[in-house]
């Protein structure tokens, strides 16, 4: 039912320009004049969907994410967000960090409201927004705690709430679940799916886990290294209305995982 709703929505707003939230055009990144981290990469990220950048380490997926986020400069090529070229970080994009990047001296609520604090928004106003997103990631009641009092999974929820609270169109997630344990990770992936559904934002998600990518993504860009390139775009055709447990046993899900693994295996060997 949900997937039908989505298709209906897509056809009504099928204007070609607004359909793509982020566009990567011929982007190259060369470190120190010799190391090609990215080589003439072109890739589109559809609006309102979650796209994974999946690949082995060294394929440049985090480099690409940081360039989109404006944290790194590309050597050549351009990044378009909502059709406009961007240079450096901007309010249209928000980043979620692999190691959470929370301020250990600040409470949960101050960490979540930090993006708004930097924009000079009044304390009462930004804390109201922060509280809304603290509740959205399931951390109500922890507002006054400090990061070191929270588990790894809860810390990343704080990082996610911080990115959501600045109301950016595009969320950039750099291996957000790699530093949390496996059970937490699964719960997190389920919550992420609900969030994509609910927030209507564009998610760009870096991961090295095939299962994770297939489970959460609308679209997977399979990246390979040396030379770094997009080897394949995969759109898992999974019915997401079924329960999470059923989904993990779903034949389409398992086949997609298998297919990606066979692509990657030839590369690894």
């Amino acid at each position: 039912m949900t997937s039908q709703g989505n298709t209906a929505l897509k056809t009504t707003q099928d204007a070609p320009q607004s359909d793509i939230a982020v566009s990567v055009r011929n982007v190259s990144k060369i470190y120190g004049g010799a190391i090609h981290a990215l080589n003439d990469m072109t890739l589109d990220f559809p609006r309102g969907q979650l796209t994974s950048l999946l690949g082995p380490s060294g394929c440049g997926k985090t480099t690409l994410l940081k360039i989109i986020g404006g944290l790194l400069d590309q050597t050549s090529g351009e990044i378009l967000v909502n059709g406009k070229p961007v240079d450096g970080p901007g309010p249209d994009r928000a980043f979620v960090f692999q190691d959470f990047a929370l301020m250990p001296w600040a409470t949960v609520i101050r960490n979540v409201a930090f993006g708004l604090e930097l924009r000079g928004i009044a304390k009462s106003e930004r804390e109201a927004v922060a509280e809304k997103y603290i509740a959205a990631v399931g951390l109500s009641g922890f507002e006054k705690q400090y990061p070191h009092e929270l588990s790894g999974g809860m810390r990343q929820r704080v990082g996610l709430a911080r990115a959501l609270s600045v109301n950016a169109d595009v969320l950039l997630l750099d291996e957000p679940f790699s530093a949390v344990d496996e059970q937490t990770r699964r719960k997190f992936q389920e919550d992420l799916l609900a969030l994509v559904e609910h927030e209507k934002k564009t998610f760009i998600f870096v991961t090295h886990s095939i299962e994770e990518a297939v489970y959460v993504s609308d679209q997977i860009a399979l990246l390979l290294a040396r030379p770094s390139r997009v080897s394949e775009i995969i759109k898992p055709d999974i019915d997401r209305s079924i329960s999470p447990d059923a989904l993990r046993r779903d034949p389409v899900y398992l086949d997609t995982v298998e297919r990606i693994w066979s692509s990657l295996r030839s590369y690894v060997e």
Partner: protein
């Protein structure tokens, strides 16, 4: 610490030394070391006098202005050195040199440059304190996780905001340690300045007492100075312990 199963109160070692001091003093072995009880009595006698209080005022003012400059200049310079390899390369040799330099030997040069007055005393004080503050701040900034800096950048922080909202706080445990040691050095600096430059404040009293062999006065003054420095160091140590909770949890 426990001795024969009894828990010793804090600073009980000081008590042993105090008793020993009293005995040596009472034995009249040297004019340089009067009994501790006589020194404490002298302390009670001279502290409320006008000449002592005004000397204390002059010294405290030079100390506070000097350390104020050391903190206000030392912390930003330390942050810049921690952030920029270029500035670090440029300044580090000088910082290390002045940290180990016998600054007392520099005081006559300062007198030529800045005259014989309070100004030179303040600069001497600041010079004693600043280098360790710079070095510790630099060390604190160097260990800030790069993702915290990227985080501030990605959420649109200006360099001004990054300095006051990220760098200072993330490096605070090291900065406070540097300030604490810097303040202790500044106590030395202010007295040396007052002894060599303008002979005012505690410096003048020290000179007066030692030149006239007023050893009870001399020791009483030294004890006052020691307690002042001790209280300062303990106060900053208390602040340091307050940020301890995140000093350990900063690394990713």
């Amino acid at each position: 610490m426990k001795l024969f199963g009894y828990k010793l109160p804090m600073m009980s070692s000081l008590l042993i030394w105090a008793v020993l001091w009293e005995i040596v003093g009472q034995l009249d072995m040297t004019i340089l070391l009067p009994p501790l009880s006589a020194i404490l009595a002298k302390m009670v006698e001279i502290v409320p006098t006008n000449s002592f209080l005004s000397a204390f005022g002059v010294t405290a003012r030079a100390f506070l202005v000097g350390t104020g400059f050391a903190v206000a200049i030392g912390i930003p310079v330390g942050v810049l050195m921690g952030k920029s390899v270029l500035i670090d390369r440029l300044l580090l040799p000088w910082v290390n040199m002045f940290l180990s330099a016998p600054l007392t030997a520099l005081v006559p040069v300062l007198m030529v440059l800045f005259g014989i007055g309070e100004q030179t005393v303040i600069i001497t004080t600041a010079l004693f304190a600043i280098w360790i503050i710079v070095l510790d701040t630099r060390a604190g900034v160097k260990q800030i996780s790069s993702s915290l800096v990227e985080m501030a950048h990605s959420f649109g922080a200006s360099s001004f905001q990054a300095f006051f909202k990220i760098y200072i706080w993330a490096a605070l445990p090291e900065i406070l340690a540097g300030v604490r040691i810097g303040f202790i050095r500044a106590v030395k600096g202010v007295i040396i300045g007052q002894l060599l430059v303008s002979v005012v404040g505690f410096g003048r009293l020290f000179e007066l007492y030692s030149a006239n062999f007023l050893m009870e006065h001399f020791w009483a003054l030294l004890l006052v100075l020691f307690f002042a420095a001790f209280t300062l160091a303990e106060g900053l140590g208390y602040l340091e312990r307050k940020v301890d909770y995140y000093a350990a949890s900063r690394a990713p």
